[in-house]
């Protein structure tokens, strides 16, 4: 097991270097630099442009900029934002909990509902329930997030006033963040009603962000369940006279879980991509919105540093899933 984990860890090194190069060059390949954005419609003399490039450290040769970035990144220093002059790690840590909180809620939502409907579809294979669930899943999977988010806002927030439009908590509540997780901080604040408000603000973004993963999980659960339900040991279990619930719920489902767990792990990337749009619509102060703004401003340091941090996190989650996978299924680690 240890050897397996070490092997997986070693693979992380070339991936890290690859990502550092990609994240560094991607934003620089786009025409237009931070000085162009700063100038906007305005005219700028060549001297002033050079002066600003110097301020941003962009007058250095490109290889030197990369090596500086890599060297500092390896020492845990990702530099400061070209727009706000704040430390990138600091900004990331301020905003990341909001994204994590939303992503966790979306994952839980997608998993519970997705697995439930997946099993339902598999056990009613070919029936109208199966058709309906899988049809809805296909619609969910194809849903444009921006449109879906605005539709829910117009219906349930501005129209019916069931839930708030945007933000993480009602503006009447004011407390300094402790953990950055609003659900926890609202409880810690001791202000009554704060937690409820935080939950209400989470409902729509959770549904919007969870929709695509939900569809994927439902479809994956269905096909995994169908495969397992056809296995010999399931037939044996049935012939032993076990109840239908024990056969599907315990024997079959446990074995169907492996590909489902992998699917959930792989959804981390989807969640982060979805977070960019969800956070923009719901004014959710997370890293998705942060990255999009940074690309627009050509804030090189934020884009390269942010991408690197996100990549490291996605890699770690995937590593964790691989380990979990190996734990659930001993065949993997001995292979």
């Amino acid at each position: 097991m240890l050897k397996y984990i070490l092997n997986r860890l070693l693979l992380v090194i070339p991936t890290f270097i690859g990502i550092s190069i990609l994240s560094f060059s991607f934003i620089r390949l786009l025409p237009g630099d931070p000085v162009d954005v700063l100038a906007g419609e305005r005219s700028m003399s060549a001297a002033r442009r050079l002066e600003l490039l110097h301020v941003f450290g962009l007058d250095q040769p490109i290889w030197k900029q990369y090596l500086d970035y890599l060297w500092r990144a390896l020492h845990g220093d990702l530099g400061t934002s070209l727009t706000t002059a704040h430390s990138i790690t600091g900004e990331f840590l301020t905003l990341f909990p909001a994204t994590v909180e939303l992503s966790i809620c979306a994952t839980i939502f997608a998993t519970i509902i997705g697995v439930f409907f997946g099993i339902l579809a598999a056990t009613h294979r070919g029936g109208w329930l199966d058709q309906l669930t899988m049809g809805t899943a296909l619609v969910g999977y194809s849903m444009p997030i921006f449109w879906w988010g605005l539709l829910l806002i117009i219906l349930f927030a501005a129209g019916l006033h069931w839930v708030p439009v945007s933000g993480r908590i009602n503006l009447d509540f004011y407390f300094k963040p402790v953990t950055g997780f609003m659900l926890i901080d609202s409880v810690l604040s001791g202000q009554k009603g704060a937690f409820v408000s935080a939950v209400q603000h989470l409902i729509l973004p959770t549904i919007v962000l969870g929709t695509i993963p939900l569809a994927v999980i439902a479809r994956q659960t269905r096909s995994a369940m169908l495969e397992v339900l056809g296995e010999d040991y399931v037939r044996t279990a049935r012939s032993k006279g076990l109840s239908n619930f024990r056969v599907t719920g315990i024997h079959a489902f446990r074995n169907a879980l492996i590909p489902v767990v992998t699917t959930i792990g792989l959804q981390v990337g989807t969640l982060l991509a979805g977070a960019i749009l969800t956070e923009t619509i719901f004014s959710w102060p997370g890293i998705g919105k942060w990255m999009i703004d940074a690309i627009g401003h050509r804030d090189y340091t934020v884009v390269q540093g942010g991408l690197l941090l996100i990549a490291v996190i996605v890699m770690s989650v995937n590593l964790l899933v691989d380990v979990l996978y190996a734990l659930i299924n001993p065949r993997i680690r001995t292979r």
């Binding site: 005219s43 600003l52 002059a85 439009v165």
Partner: protein, 526 residues
């Protein structure tokens, strides 16, 4: 649903009992996050909005106008040669008291000298920053120095006379920071805090900023102009549709930048009101006047005549604008927009003019900006309409669009292909600010995306910069506008109307012609 209502009511009651909520808070749904809180470092409108809440300069624009009036300076004199400005400062102005700073003295000349000197020296206390607006308004070329005469008198000296200097000093970058506060931060090795936790003399005292979520201010009880009646929260949301939904749901009281398509429905809503003001701007199609056949004024005039500008104002600006005849908006002094010969939509004549100029099978690339600006709310739609208009006179147009940063950069070079949709919103209410950065010879290859350099026009601009008599300057700008109109380096499209939607509970809001948002005069009924 009943459970939800009960929970909501309980939480509201709890908040009132805990005293956690502000007495009367105005929530402003803003369009983006401030980059920082030091008034000298940034120049985007989003950041300047939070600066003007807590800081003030020596002078300021009378709200809703471009007229310069006293602020921290009660009065001033300008020497005859236009090189020395003596400012007499207001007595008894208090610095804001916050959780992180308690002032021991009132505002005085030391603060003014410090605030100017740091920008004159040009080095900031933060990496990757510069006194951006100071540089971009060419202040280093104009300001020689500043000195304290006594505690309430300062003298600003210039290198050359500069007619727009007072207007420049009314801009947010010239706002005054507290020397006592910065000294304290510097001594503690915490200078960076100046950009996170501001201390000004303005109407609102900073409370807290939660990144990308909200900025909180409370009314400054010591404000020399009288304490505002509200506390103020900026609630940040980038998406115009979501901002409007927040306004409809009562989560905010005032919203920034509605999309033009929504203005009609806002006006019809019984709970909302939309106040409107003519903006200090113009939107245009900028030809490359150094490229054939656009170097021929007749070709430019023909294309200008082929554009149905009225239809464009109806469709792109949703009627919120007027056809522009001059680059200077009619509300600006010296503008002859109203009396200049208006551009007439006449495709048949346009076609004949092109033929006369010997231009056949003309193709043109129209650059459509990917972002909405007050002067151009929907450039893609505008470009498509121009494409259809040009097709009517046999000109084949293609629409081209890239992301904003790339657009800004690649539309500047002299050898750029095609015509660019772009525009301008004034910085300081001075005509020079409309002409020199956009149409001056020095700006060719830069902000002058028409690549147009007319010696007579440029000479008039230079001359007008050197004199301070407004009447004499106005005459020069009138002549300049006539030349501009004859030469048509760009097809002027519109001066747009700025709309601010708000709840009917909000009173006293005044639209700033420069596009910033001020709340010191605002009240809200419960």
């Amino acid at each position: 649903m009943r459970l939800l209502t009960t929970l909501l009511a309980a939480s509201a009651l709890a908040v009132v009992m805990a005293g956690g909520a502000y007495a009367k808070t105005l929530v402003y749904c803003s369009e983006g996050s401030p980059e920082g809180f030091d008034p000298g470092l940034y120049e985007s409108g989003t950041t300047l909005d939070v600066n003007v809440a807590s800081y003030e300069g020596l002078v300021k624009f009378k709200l809703g106008t471009t007229e310069v009036q006293p602020a921290l300076a009660e009065k001033w004199e300008i020497s005859k040669d236009g090189l020395t400005y003596t400012f007499h400062l207001r007595h008894g102005v208090k610095w804001q008291t916050t959780d992180y700073f308690t002032p021991t003295r009132d505002f005085n000349a030391d603060d003014v000298v410090y605030s100017f000197e740091r920008q004159i020296k040009g080095t900031t206390y933060l990496p990757d920053t510069t006194f951006a607006y100071w540089g971009d308004m060419s202040m280093p070329d104009q300001v020689a120095g500043i000195k304290k005469i006594d505690d309430y008198t300062v003298e600003l000296t210039l290198k050359t006379p500069s007619a727009p200097m007072l207007a420049n000093l009314a801009m947010p970058f010239a706002e005054i920071v507290s020397k006592e506060y910065t000294d304290k931060l510097a001594a503690a090795g915490k200078m960076a805090q100046l950009n996170d936790e501001p201390v000004g003399t303005g109407p609102f005292t900073f409370v807290n900023y939660q990144k990308d979520a909200n900025v909180r201010f409370k009314a400054n009880p010591d404000y020399w102009g009288g304490a505002p009646k509200i506390d103020l929260v900026f609630s940040i949301n980038k998406d115009a549709t979501a901002r409007l939904q927040s306004l409809l749901a009562g989560e905010c009281d005032v919203m920034a930048y509605p999309s033009p398509a929504d203005v009609d429905s806002i006006k019809k809503n019984p709970n909302l009101t939309a106040i409107q003001e003519k903006g200090l701007n113009f939107g245009a199609l900028w030809y490359n006047t150094q490229q054939k056949p656009f170097d021929n004024v007749e070709v430019r005039k023909a294309l200008d005549m082929a554009i149905d500008k009225k239809a464009m104002i109806a469709a792109v600006y949703q009627g919120q604008g007027q056809v522009a005849n001059s680059a200077l908006p009619p509300t600006m002094w010296s503008s002859i927009d109203a009396t200049l010969k208006p551009s007439v939509y006449d495709p048949a004549k346009a076609k004949a003019m092109l033929e006369k100029a010997g231009v056949k099978d003309l193709t043109i690339k129209i650059w459509a900006m990917p972002v909405a600006r007050p002067y151009m709310p929907d450039a893609k739609r505008a470009a498509e309409m121009m494409q259809a208009d040009f097709a009517k006179i046999g000109v084949k147009a293609t629409v081209y669009s890239v992301d904003w940063a790339e657009y800004l950069k690649t539309s500047k070079p002299v050898d750029r292909d095609g015509a660019v949709i772009m525009g301008w919103t004034g910085d300081n209410g001075d005509p020079d600010n409309f002409f020199t950065p956009n149409f001056g010879c020095d700006a060719v290859g830069g902000g002058n995306r028409a690549q147009w350099c007319d010696k007579d026009f440029d000479a008039l601009l230079k001359k007008a910069q050197q004199i301070t008599d407004q009447k004499a300057r106005a005459k020069l700008y009138e002549q300049a506008q006539v030349i501009f109109n004859k030469q048509t380096p760009v097809s002027l499209i519109a001066h747009s109307v700025v709309t601010m939607p708000m709840s009917k509970k909000v009173t006293g809001y005044v639209i700033d012609p420069f596009g910033l948002h001020h709340f010191e005069t605002v009240d809200k009924s419960e």
